[in-house]
Amino acid sequence: MVKYSKIEFLVACASRHVRNDEAVFGGTGMPLLAALLAKETHAPRINLISEAGFIDARPREVPLSVADSRYYYGCSASIGLIETLGFILQGGRIDVGFLGSAQIDEYGNINTTYIGPFDNPKVKLPGSGGGNDIASSAKRLIVMMTHDKRKFVKELDYMTSPGHLQGPGSRKKWSLVGNGPDVVITDMCQMDFDPDTLKIRLMTVHPGFEIQDILDNVMFEIVVPDDVPTTEEPTQEQIDIMHKLDPHGIYLGKGG
């Protein structure tokens, strides 16, 4: 039996959502590992793009920053933000974007800016970065986050990046380019969105968890379909490749 950590599970799971020949915004951290893992396995021809300006990147070591020189050598073009976030992303040419989230609501709207009230915030989080842009304009958005009940809220403290906003029709109202979040991956389950209501729906539950665990760990009502399969586990090959990509355990942790 394959042994894996929560993070390894998340990364392997996310990598399966990347399809060959897609243009992917990699960023850093788990999304980047997921994209690189996909490229090393089932999707060798993905075009890995970093918003700082690297296009079709093939880093041999895992970058720590979207602007890290590790993204440079072997990439096909090295330009800037107007190119990546403007011409490519806003131009509708990104298939998959990834975001993390500190809070998410039932429509997949995302907060990465403040915890607490806007006028007197308790915690300043990083903010949007390219997140709002990616959530607005990528064809599909994959959200990756650790599962914590306080993160799955009925109402966000601050909406940084658009999910499906107030539901059907509301992205169109604001003429957003992309289709919004496609899947939310946590260390407990995968969730997608009900096509009619655009509300979060349970998709698969990771081994070791029950449906009830998920229901207990979100603060809104989650749609549960009749059939909720168990999530596919990572293969040993996936885990080995991950560690080859992040030999110092910067993202995967020293414990491996």
């Binding site: 300006g53 720590l64 602007a67 308790k122 990083p126 949007s128 709002n132 658009p162």
Partner: protein, 286 residues
């Protein structure tokens, strides 16, 4: 040269070409009330808000990316000593593009539908406007251009006239270098004008935009400068750890910034042996 209360475009992106040495100098000169405008600077923003040099940011992002949250900014916001006007990276890049083009705004398709539109701090109703497009009738977001008092940009090489080359990604520095009323170029290396004129395709900032040139090595340390040196991960992790509590941060500030006379003193403190270990290897550029 930079008066208190100035607005500054701040160059570099993420770990790349951060004008750290300039941030240090602003701290040593005890500047106050600066407004820093950039997409996503990191350690430099931490230094400037941590030392009380800047009390306003117009930015999209503040964190040390892979290493975690920006602790100084977080504390200063909670203390009410720092106001952050939040945009996205594209929004900021377009604001610099608009400033460079000398037009008052730029249209974008981001931000709409979110609290980025609903909430503003010091920019009030000048933060942005959502309008109906007069051509297509769809909603479109207008972000106001910025033309700050100064643009601060760190590049690899510059000639005596000010023609500057950037290796690797440019981030938002092409637009940023052209949007400021004055442009200060910080470079790792001085090269001859003939070298520039042999490869004019490579000039990212022509001299006519440039007001001042500063030549120093390791301007970005502990961050990275493509083709010149890698980030100093150990120092970076130490920096990040020390920002977690105010006393520890003050210790770093005294030790590495206020406690040295200038950038050479800082480099001395870091140690030349350490610095040389960071030098970039070909063909990787880091």
């Amino acid at each position: 040269m930079v008066p208190d209360g100035s607005e500054l475009f701040w160059g570099g992106f993420g770990y790349q070409r951060a004008p750290i040495a300039f941030a240090h100098e602003l701290v040593r000169q005890n500047k106050r009330r600066l407004n820093i405008q950039t997409c996503g600077s990191e350690v430099d923003l931490e230094i400037m808000c941590g030392a009380g040099v800047a009390d306003k940011f117009e930015i999209a992002f503040t964190a040390i990316e892979a290493l975690g949250l920006s602790n100084n900014a977080r504390r200063r916001v909670t203390e009410g000593k720092l106001q952050i006007e939040d945009y996205s990276n594209l929004a900021m890049a377009m604001r610099f593009l608009g400033g460079a083009l000398n037009v008052p705004f730029m249209p974008i398709r981001s931000l709409m539908g979110t609290d980025m539109v609903k909430h503003a701090r010091f920019k009030g109703d000048k933060k942005l406007k959502v309008i109906d497009c007069p051509f297509t009738n769809e909603k479109i977001c207008l972000v106001p251009s910025v033309q700050p008092d100064f643009s601060i940009v760190h590049v690899q090489r510059v000639d005596q006239q000010g023609n500057a080359q950037i290796d690797g990604i440019v981030g938002e520095d092409v637009e940023g270098s052209r949007c400021g009323k004055k442009l200060i170029v910080l470079a790792e290396e001085l090269i001859d004008g003939d070298e520039i004129r042999k490869r004019p395709d490579q000039t990212k900032i022509p001299a006519l935009y440039v007001d001042r040139i500063v030549i120093l090595p390791f301007i970005a340390h502990p961050m990275q400068c493509h083709d010149y040196y890698d980030y100093d991960l150990e120092h970076l992790q130490m920096f990040h750890k020390l920002t977690r509590a105010e006393e520890m941060w003050q210790e770093y500030l005294d030790n590495y910034i206020l406690g040295v006379d200038d950038h050479w003193g800082y480099l001395e403190k870091i140690g030349w042996e350490n610095l040389h270990k960071l030098r970039a290897r070909k063909p990787w550029g880091y």
